[in-house]
Amino acid sequence: MSNPQMVMYDEEFKQINVVIEKLLREANSKVIFLVDKNGQLISGVGDIEQFDTTSLASLTAGNIAATGGMAKLIGEKEFSILFHEGEKDNLHISIVGGRVILVVLFDNRSSLGLVRLRVKKASDELTTIFNRLLEKAEEKEKSGETDFPFAEITDDDIDNLFS
């Protein structure tokens, strides 16, 4: 398959949240979330209750996919940073480690320069964590270790979902 399955474990989830919470403070931003390129929300911090993060995640991934398609058409690998400027709120969207999307929502209490600077630092830390996560998943797969929750499910479990 073109993309290995994304798996998130407790340990890395906590580490990721520490990094994005720090970024939230240091970049003076309102909301930060991480989305995988397929549009699944990985995590979010800040004022997330105010926003429909599931929809935002899906549209962000669509946005990155569309600009990625444009990049290829002009001979670029990808556009790694997108910036959307609104009247009050702005979105800074960047690709981390080639496969995860980092979204920072900020208003006039911060600035694009500050956000860019802090995102760069946080991206390096996130890349390290995501690489480790990938290695971990591969190791588990190789060793045949199955803590996979669905290995034991029965047809009844599946049918019950639809009852």
């Binding site: 398959m1 073109s2 993309n3 290995p4 399955q5 994304m6 798996v7 998130m8 474990y9 407790d10 890395e12 989830f13 906590k14 995988d36 390129k37 397929n38 549009g39 699944q40 990985i42 429909d52 599931t54 929809s55 899906s58 549209l59 669509g62 996919a65 569309a66 990625g68 398609g69 199955t146 996979f148 929750p149 669905f150 290995a151 034991e152 499910i153 479990d157 599946i158 049918d159 019950n160 979902l161 639809f162």
Partner: protein, 195 residues
Amino acid sequence: MSFINYASREINCKIVYYGPGLCGKTTNLQFVYQKTAPDAKGKMISLATETERTLFFDFLPLALGEIRGFKTRFHLYTVPGQVFYDASRKLILKGVDGVVFVADSQEERMDANIESLENLRINLEEQGYNLDKIPYVVQYNKRDLPNVVSVEELRRELNPTDVPEFEACASTGEGVFETLKAVAKLILVDLKKGK
């Protein structure tokens, strides 16, 4: 690919509705949206033109419930059916876990069905998927119309590999949930194998 989050105990899967223009992909999602309890669904998003033709995609998140303590979520997407939106269609297939091919049963749309199905196979291959190996079901839509092709003929042209197939009328909802359940079930069975 599905996303398994052990930290929040969630599993997310992506289903894509594919098919020729005006075959009823968006209508399928709209019916699912209307008939799902408010706490089990998110907002339905349609990126459409002023004439309500899908421009990029429709998106509907559904939470089906729990399996073994894991919240099971399905993200439903449609592609734009019109031929010239091919670049967009390819993007939406990224990370797909299961596909529904919605065929328009009307006689005059037969060529469009065949073309769209070939297009699906090619676009999946570009993403590294094989249509014969992923969870996949076919829906024969618009069975209520007068000028429809027989199911036997549709099957011969569009379902040679004999995957689960459903007759439907998406505007009244007939067959819509049956189709969705079938593809969701195939995805979960695939996950069970732990591929």
